[in-house]
Assembly symmetry: D2
Homo-oligomer: 304 residues x 4
């Protein structure tokens, strides 16, 4: 398959659709990103690369980071992680407290905010220098030492993150946050502020197309069984409460962020990252979802 031709076609066809969405505006650093940014980066298991648009321009990966921190915690705790987080789709908005109250402070899954905050709490308990550990981990996954936190974004998140403070205190009231809320959220806000470009993002998820082993250094990130399970979790819960719709339309394990990034994986084949900042009402990149739907349609590739 001629992937370069395919992604160029996706670029032409779906970039205009971004006009229907709205760039995240809750912090200045996100609001100022031009709506016209657009990138597609695809990397195959054999490390062939196909790239177009603003693929070298870093952006805030936001919730996509929840996959990285989940892996760190899951590697350490194994199945014991499920004592503190569920693995069901949430059915409500990514920052809702309603489900959390009904279910006594146990978040539905690690990819809603509450779940990721519990994951951050776990990492804080197991790492001496959690922010550096996270950074090292992401750099290794992506095979690129240049990745950093955008400190300005992290600071903005902190000053506007009232809902996340509410979630963390709420769970602490239920005993599901161990460390001080300020420290937990400091890590959480930093992970959201990871700045990566589409190339780095595609590369960092390639291990999931390689049965859990990092193709750049041949180290096992997750064993095949856990890698498989993580992909199932991404399929059912990776796009907030649009996950069912995305599975229906696209049918690939994926994770999105309000910075406009989405990264998806075809097991044993490839990883693909798309970046287009304007979001739909669910907080996912409008053009990004459309591009991935067409990608599966045109390429005929699917897990189903």
């Amino acid at each position: 398959m001629d992937y370069q031709q395919l992604i160029e076609r996706l670029y032409q066809e779906t970039k205009p659709l971004a006009a229907q969405g709205k760039v995240a505006s809750y912090i200045p650093a996100l609001a100022e990103v031009p709506a016209s940014r657009f990138a597609i980066s695809l990397i195959t298991r054999k490390q062939e690369k196909f790239q177009t648009g603003d693929h070298q321009m870093p952006f805030s990966i936001q919730s996509i980071s929840k996959v990285f921190t989940f892996i760190l915690a899951y590697k350490n705790l194994g199945a014991a992680i499920w004592d503190r987080i569920g693995r069901e789709p949430s059915g409500t908005a990514f920052n809702s407290l309603i489900q959390l109250e009904h279910e006594q402070g146990i978040p539905r899954n690690p990819f809603i905010n509450a779940g990721a905050i519990v994951v951050a709490d776990i990492i804080l308990s197991i790492c001496k220098n959690p922010k550096q550990t996270l950074l090292d981990f992401v750099r290794t996954l992506a095979g690129d030492q240049a990745i950093t936190f955008d400190k300005q974004v992290a600071l903005s998140e902190k000053t506007t993150g009232h809902r996340n403070y509410a979630l963390a205190h709420f769970m602490k009231g239920f005993g599901n946050i161990i460390n001080p809320v300020d420290e937990v959220l400091d890590l959480y806000f930093h992970q959201c502020a990871l700045a990566m470009n589409a190339d780095q993002l595609a590369s960092s998820f390639l291990f999931l197309a390689n049965e859990g082993t990092n193709p750049f250094d041949q180290q096992e990130v997750l064993n095949p069984s856990r890698a498989k399970r993580l992909k199932a979790l991404m399929l059912t819960s990776g796009l907030y409460n649009e996950s069912g719709d995305f599975a229906f339309r696209v049918g690939l394990p994926a994770k999105s962020g309000v910075g406009g990034g989405i990264v998806a994986v075809i097991p044993k084949q490839l990883s693909i990252a798309i970046w287009s900042p304007p979001l739909n009402a669910m907080g996912n990149s409008i053009a990004g979802i459309e591009a991935l739907e067409r990608f599966t349609t045109y390429s005929g590739q699917s897990i189903f």
Copy 2:
């Protein structure tokens, strides 16, 4: 009516019922209060006093303080206060976030925690020295300068008050908290930590049996129309989500606290405070409610 004989009878009959309840245990300062404490203090509009039991022993008034702070805010803002708080019974537990999410950060009424936190925020915006203002106000209402905050209780509230932090941050996310959360909760935790005895409590609510005018200094606390409205609010919302049940059984405007105090008013007649620490599942004094039900039955007094 021989009120002294009546309250002695209530003391005999209802004190044993306290054994069915549980003393609040979320902070040591409350948990250590002996379950056997029991006080009744009644004061008539003409300032006749009838007292029995531990009526001079101070206890933590907790949520009863929500009436005092509400009055301070209501005097200042008048009807504009209803832009930020509702006046419907909550239908859910006193510290639930569910209703708050559905109604976009506007608490149902000023007597659930969320509502009282908004009231504290209002007071912070209008007072230079809010804690002193509150203390002066309560002392004047009670006609007793000895009333103080229990600093140890206030500190305990702070270290265990995760749910209240969650509520405050949650509402700040909706724009319904103006001041820094820490400052708002510092005032809130102090008001909960007001230490008063049953005599002081009964006296401090006597103005509501006197159409809004403080009988001790003849100053108008609220005008008659507002005093009437406050009593309606106490009737529909004064006992958390047991308010409907209490109205049905007792039928008097009242306010309770998890310290085991309840104070009720018969308009144009009297104010009565009861203290018995063991609580029912709704967080109200078991013996206190029973004593008030019998008080209305035996005395034949009612607003209905």
Copy 3:
């Protein structure tokens, strides 16, 4: 007090406010009632009558009938009725199923639809001819044998009452409806279709201003204690989820219906019925509430 002058003033001042509301439109028989209808009828404990406007014109009393059926069931079961219905304000819309699911089929109070359907089920179990029993009871209360069901309204209710069928089946699933749903709702739809004029309505509630005894025939309807409790229930739950607001503004035990009627009671004094079809968003008569608020303000009468 010159009540005739007072109600004429209320007529003049509040009739124009009806223009802000909307007449109930879910059944033709209600939708066709002219929005300009307006009646006030007041009757004192001594049976002095003060009337103005369309006070002799019958209208559909709708939810006001829930008080009549509740009394029939309460007289029979006494406190056992609380095994099947709560007595807390609902906090949600009058026809919501959400609370009912959380609380396992036990309605919050007898004045929301679900509660009244349980009451209808109780009456069906205790009466041989429930519709005639209800009619006889209301006629006796009002001292007027002319009161009837509007069969056309009852039929319309039946054909559009999907939500009420849902509520009844839902509670039957929880075991809280004993009789066949069709029979229970047949009674319920008939009670809603009781046609009464403002004079009859005011008269039929006068026993609540007379400590439970029907002033027309001197028979006890409820004993004084139960009459008092019923009034408390009306105060906390009589106007759907606007009850708290109504208590705050008006401060009287009352019950409303979507036909535009409201009836209120001042204990030991009088009963007053107002009819103005246009409703606010909560389903209560806009002009009716306003007229009652001014009635208490101008007359200086209140239970608080």
Copy 4:
């Protein structure tokens, strides 16, 4: 792979686990099924068959029928079906009304009861003889004309189906049920009462392992794109609110029923049906889920 040896191993290992569950008891016809029944039936795309246990014994397929009716409706309406049903995991129990009230009568997906009732309503509008059409369709899919409805089960469903009546009336109130509730539920109760054995069940889902084309008659049931989408829907929503957990553990598109059946598909490979009546708290076959988890583990097959 030696599938016969594999399913015998699953039989040995997982049959004992059924003892931890409880057979559905809400209707006699289900309650009387012996808990020890156990069947595994696997059929490959090339129609090789591997069977063990009670694989020829018919049982009530219950909710598995929701896939059959959904296909009938989806073939007819295409994407227009999504105007009346969502495609997100529900997040709440299969028969909950809460989500339905929040979302104005639009069920979350076609595999919860409310969704399947809307599907039944659609079929009623498009078929002259809906029950016969459904039966013909299932017989053709399974390549077996012997399949029938269990009339006794259908009748039992009707007499105990209060919650389903509530759901149907509730949605009718929102305008999302067109036909009379009794007719819609008659079809719904019949589909639940389809009696099939494990062999028939495995065969009837084989078209989903064959890109949408029935391998027995080479007719297209769904085009490849729609077949793919249906499998995505089964993965995210096929096991009630245990779907996320099942995806995590097993990772295959599947559908379960309270009769104890589960059928799963490996795209382009095979279909497998398991029957073991005892259920877990979510209403899914305990041993069935465990057998499918081990099936993917031992065979190393997965879509991820």
